[in-house]
């Protein structure tokens, strides 16, 4: 059984700010988590939550205030770890005076590949990300989506064991997003470990074995998408119709949402039978009863709202 691909232990990053840099802003606070080998891990959080900070710490682009991390068993300070890791930065930008093929060839040189091997890999990658025909055009003429594809190509060019993608779907149209999803799944099937950050929650739900939600620099939840959203699932949804609308005077009707000739009502689990009795007494026709399973998006929004409320409270009390 291989060990974890990513081990993060109490990682904290503070940035000094203000005149003389005497104040400190905490971007990441005591992050501890692991990503297992071979899994697709989604890192979710709103803007400024600490996702990119975490990824930059893992890539040794910034240095932690405290804590440490290991990728594929190597410390992040070991430059040799990069041989087995691919990284796509957020909103990637490359040398606009080079063509896509030249950029990939340039990056491939750092993996000490033979020229013939480099050339073959570059052609293969351009084909894989759908830039085969645009490979000889300078990047200054590329759209944002095309640059994102170049970014993805340079991240997986050297066949890494671990791929870290910072917002890989950003700037892509639905076709591009689908292609990126396919590449991620292809990498997963090839036994690679993938960590990616995203705002697009359906993609995370679709692709990830596990997700971690980070808000305000703190990890708020981690687990399989169904598992972590299931924590909040204790509401029931009743779908009903009212053939004789005038006769129903149930107070529950005011709480229901009308959808054409049907109504949708959400009640706490313990009130379900009482609600059903009330509706039946009012001659409602019960169409279905189902447990409400919040989507990842709802869970996410719940955490963000809680964090904002806490931030507002801190601002008011000054603590």
């Amino acid at each position: 059984m291989p060990g974890p691909a990513i081990e993060i232990d109490n990682l904290t990053k503070e940035y000094p700010y203000g005149f003389l840099n005497l104040k400190k802003k905490t971007s990441l606070e005591g992050l501890t988590m692991q990503v297992e080998t071979g899994e697709v891990f989604g890192f979710l959080g709103p803007n400024g939550a600490g996702k990119s900070t975490t990824i930059k710490l893992l890539m040794n682009l910034i240095f932690p205030t405290s804590g440490h991390a290991r990728l594929l068993g190597k410390s992040t300070t070991n430059v040799e770890m990069h041989r087995d890791i691919g990284y796509l930065p957020e909103q990637p930008y490359f040398y606009d005076y080079l063509t896509a093929a030249e950029v990939l060839d340039y990056f491939a040189k750092f993996y000490d590949l033979a020229p013939a091997d480099r050339k073959a890999r570059v052609q293969n990658m351009l084909k894989k990300v759908g830039l085969e025909t645009a490979g000889k055009i300078q990047l200054r003429k590329y759209s944002k989506g095309m640059l994102q594809r170049v970014g993805l190509a340079q991240a997986i060019l050297h066949d890494p064991q671990l791929v870290i993608l910072d917002e890989p779907m950003s700037g892509l149209d639905p076709v591009g997003r689908r292609e990126v999803r396919d590449i991620i799944l292809e990498l997963k099937n090839a036994g690679k470990t993938i960590l990616f950050s995203t705002h697009i929650l359906p993609d995370a739900e679709m692709l990830c074995d596990r997700v971690g939600v980070i808000v305000g620099g703190k990890l708020q939840g981690i687990g399989a998408p169904g598992e972590i959203v299931g924590i909040k699932a204790h509401e029931m949804e009743i779908l009903f119709a009212l053939p004789n609308l005038g006769q129903n005077s149930s107070p529950l009707l005011a709480k229901a949402t009308r959808m054409g000739d049907r109504y949708r009502l959400q009640v706490p689990e313990q009130d379900l039978y009482a609600a059903l009795d009330q509706l039946r007494n009012g001659e409602a026709k019960i169409l279905s009863v189902a447990q409400v399973k919040p989507s990842l998006e709802e869970y996410f929004m719940h955490l963000v709202a809680a964090d904002r409320a806490q931030a507002a409270a801190v601002e008011v009390t000054g603590k």
Binding site: Y15, K56, M59, N60, L61, I62, F63, V79, E80, H82, R83, I85, Y87, L88, P89, Q91, P92, Y93, F94, Y95, Y97, L98, Y106, F107, K109, F110, Y111, D112, G151, Q154
Partner: protein
């Protein structure tokens, strides 16, 4: 070593594709104009005028390139965020920095060689022949290149630690001060005061001594340049660049790329 070469080659390619070498057109026009004019307005000193003008132009154009491109070598990569993808490769930060240095010095060398060819063509035009003593011009050009390498190293050091504008100002300040090192060393204490004179003397040893690299007068008059000076300047430039680049690497290795 291949990593440094890869970064260096890309730096050179950037300069070429950004049309930096177009300055050669300006230099060619200057040399052509000077060659034609000098024949009409000077009698017997054509060679001195052409060599002085040519070496000054090579030095000035090279200096502008070294400062302005040198300052942007690192800051541009950070501003455009190209450095994120690059440093996520198995590339050490000092290798990146050294590659940038090598790339720009190579660009300046190509540029200087091309300008030197223009200077010798102009010289040939006014003299109708080249003599053995003209080799001094080649040595003067070599010294200019050594001087430019020091300026590039300084530009890299400053751009690793401060803004582009301040880096340009610091480079300019160092260049001007470094051109008056002898005056700083011989500052009389009865005029400036003993403390100021001592500070100036210490500073003069820290600053790059650009005066040693200026042999334009000797080259223009076809005088022989001592071999010891060539060795001394080569060693001095290599050591000075090594120390400055080590400082730049130390700063750069601690830098956070937010």
């Amino acid at each position: 070593m291949t990593h440094i070469g890869a970064v260096g080659l890309n730096t050179f390619r950037e300069a070429v594709r950004d049309r930096v070498l177009y300055n050669l057109v300006f230099f060619a026009l200057l040399m052509m104009g000077a060659a034609v004019l000098v024949g009409q307005i000077s009698i017997g000193i054509e060679e001195i005028v052409i060599v002085s003008l040519g070496l000054s132009a090579i030095s000035f154009i090279g200096l502008l390139m070294a400062v302005f491109i040198g300052v942007g070598l690192v800051s541009k990569e950070m501003d455009k965020r190209t450095i994120y993808a690059l440093l996520s490769k198995p590339l050490r930060r000092w290798e990146f920095l050294l590659g940038k240095f090598v790339g720009l010095v190579f660009t300046l060398a190509v540029n200087t060689v091309a300008m030197s060819a223009g200077l010798f063509l102009a010289l040939l035009y006014v003299k109708h022949t080249l003599e053995r003593s003209d080799a001094a011009v080649l040595i003067a050009i070599y010294f200019i290149l050594l001087k430019l390498a020091i300026v590039v190293a300084l530009a890299l050091l400053f751009s690793c630690s401060t803004t582009s504008l301040l880096s340009i100002l610091y480079c300019a300040g160092f260049y001007v001060a470094g051109s008056f090192v002898q005056e700083m060393r011989t500052l009389r204490s009865d005029l400036a005061g003993p403390v100021a004179a001592a500070i100036m003397r210490w500073l003069s040893y820290l600053l790059p001594n650009f005066e040693n690299f200026n042999v334009t007068g000797l080259a223009a008059h076809g005088a022989k340049i001592p071999t010891a000076l060539i060795a001394q300047n080569t060693l001095y430039a290599a050591l000075y660049c090594a120390v400055v680049l080590a400082g730049a690497a130390a700063i750069f290795s601690r830098r956070n790329f937010k």
